[in-house]
């Protein structure tokens, strides 16, 4: 078995992995990217629409243009990467086992590991739609790969379930390729992607968005012949008698993304509610020296935010290799972050008391849209550590806050911190 030794191994060569590797290489540490596809670049390569790069480059780029800039940087820095290489296991002592068809099974011993495996789409199995299993049922990202990379059209007439951004972008893409999109069906009473996409991908082309509806049956035995959609009530139970048949030959599912953490879980790292690993304020998982960034940690709205997070993971991995690796680490005392009223989850899950002097970047999402709000951080004695006003929140927009808890005079003995998004009291409204 061929063996390698590196300072930092990066699992996944997408937008997160490449950005993290660039930071590590610039610090003159040995880095190696392990990528299972036949080229580096990841899913951003198949997102051929524009709208990327406004944060990172202050210009509007397509997905491929965005990631090409990082690929070019990685190549200029001679960052090594292995393609067609599938990681099958990593251990808490940071040994990675991977396979490819040139070298067979390989072993990589690393001082630190950066997890950047991204996420994958929920499939039909995750949402239990009854019916046969005909051809013509795909996830929106699968269809995106067929249309934009491989050059195939998976069908002619479509219904898209789920109004996430990929689903809406595919609705426009397929319309541009001469296909007919009959409807985008959304179980929530509101669109789940960005308004920009609702306007430019659906309204521009007269594609109906049917909210508070879901697909309750798929028709056809060999090939999809249509779907039944039904109205749902507030509890998402279907309303009997509201069924409508829509003829189509293809059903695309855009019903959510799950961080891909099989490797992480098997290595013994703790996984949090949304499927990403539990991390501290340094993006370090519960395994020492193993960091996570990008969509494997939490699903982001924008690749720019993935890049920013990956750079942080890279810097923290450098610090770990230079200052902590091989040294005895005592038990860390940590503050636990929890999701309160109208908060779906919060990252980081843990804050090291030793890092209270540092600025901490919190990211979280709300459960439901709301207006005129207050974001509050409370300690375990219900003391408000921080608060700020917010005009509008929506689950599809991640909220990011940078806070220095020492400056906010947090009680150092505090064990937990809860974030909540609550309606603004009257007094505050008058201040506006």
């Amino acid at each position: 078995m061929k063996k390698y030794e590196v300072d930092v191994a990066v699992i996944g060569g997408g937008s997160a992995g490449i950005a993290a590797a660039i930071v590590v290489k610039k610090a003159e540490l040995d880095v190696l990217i392990l990528e299972r596809d036949k080229e580096i670049g990841g899913i951003t390569l198949q997102c051929i629409h524009n709208g990327f790069g406004l944060h990172e480059f202050e210009e509007e780029l397509t997905g491929p243009e965005y990631v090409q800039r990082f690929i070019n940087q990685a190549k200029d820095l001679n960052i090594p990467y292995k393609l067609d290489t599938m990681v099958i296991e990593f251990t808490p002592d940071k040994t990675i086992y991977a396979v490819n068809n040139k070298e067979g099974l390989i072993e990589i011993k690393a001082k630190a590991i950066i997890l950047a495996m991204g996420c994958r789409e929920k499939t039909r199995g995750a949402i239990n739609i009854p019916g046969f299993r005909p051809a013509g049922i795909l996830t929106a990202g699968q269809a995106q790969r067929f249309v934009n990379i491989e050059g195939y059209l998976p069908g002619r007439t479509y219904v898209i379930l789920g109004s996430g951004d990929i689903g809406m972008i595919m609705a426009r893409r397929l319309t541009w390729e001469g296909c007919q999109v009959k409807a985008v069906v959304e179980i929530q009473p509101y669109v789940s992607g960005l308004i920009r996409n609702e306007v430019q991908c659906l309204e521009d082309y007269g594609i109906p968005l049917i909210t508070s509806y879901t697909v309750t049956k798929i028709h056809g035995k060999e090939r999809v012949q249509g779907v039944t959609v039904s109205k749902v009530d507030r509890n998402f139970d279907r309303v009997i008698g509201s069924e409508k048949f829509i003829e189509c030959d293809t059903l695309l599912l855009s019903v959510g993304l799950i961080p891909e953490n099989e490797l992480t879980r098997e290595a013994g790292a703790k996984i949090s509610v949304m499927g990403g690993p539990v991390v501290d304020n340094n993006l370090e998982t519960t395994i020492d020296g193993v960091f996570a960034c990008g969509n494997v940690l939490q699903v982001h709205d924008l690749v720019d935010l993935v890049t920013a997070e990956a750079k942080r993971a890279g810097l923290n991995a450098i610090e770990y290799v230079k200052e902590k690796y091989g040294k005895e680490i005592g038990k860390k005392t940590q503050i636990k972050c929890t999701a309160g009223e109208n908060v779906n989850y919060i990252k980081p899950d843990l804050i090291n008391n030793a890092d209270l002097e540092r600025d901490i970047i919190f990211t979280f999402r709300v459960k439901r849209p709301d207006r005129r709000l207050l974001i509050q951080f409370k300690d375990d004695k219900n003391k408000i550590v921080y608060k700020r006003k917010k005009i509008y929140v929506i689950p599809s927009e991640m909220i990011e806050l940078k806070l220095n808890l020492r400056e906010q005079q947090i009680d150092p003995d505090c064990k937990s911190l809860e974030v909540e998004v609550i309606p603004r009291p009257e007094v505050l409204i008058e201040e506006d």
Partner: protein, 131 residues
């Protein structure tokens, strides 16, 4: 709040435009009343600008793919180097669908020049090596 401007060749009638500048998504009413543009319903300057442009001359960056010969992949993602008038998108898409290019290609290479005399080029969105 309403603002008035005089512009030549304004479209007739009115449009209710959902603003995409921020998540608030204001519904902005734009109306041409005897050659004067009335814009109402926006809550910021950028929203007003956006609604005016959407009414007067809506444009979009076009992103699609083009066939490639001898490429590592069969398609190359492409885009227009400037926004295209919305009513010219369809014919531009058809033109690109019929075109073909050859690898190797570098990001930014012009693949179709000055389409329909609009001073718009179709450029490659990534590098593509030969097979």
């Amino acid at each position: 709040m309403s603002t008035k401007t005089n512009e030549s060749e304004l479209p007739e009638g009115f449009k209710d435009i959902r603003c995409i500048i921020c998540p608030t998504g204001c519904l902005v009413h734009v109306e041409n009343i005897n050659g004067e543009l009335i814009i109402e319903g926006h809550s910021c300057k950028r929203g007003e600008e956006y609604a005016r442009e959407e009414f007067v001359a809506p444009k979009r960056i076009l992103t699609t793919t083009m066939r490639v010969e001898k490429g590592f992949l069969p398609l190359i993602p492409v885009r227009s180097d400037k926004p295209i008038p919305k009513d010219r998108l369809e014919e531009t898409l058809k033109l690109i669908a019929k075109a073909q290019t050859t690898a190797p290609i570098k990001m930014g290479d012009t693949l179709l020049e000055n389409v329909f005399g609009l001073d718009i080029n179709i450029i490659a969105s990534r590098d593509l090596i030969e097979m």
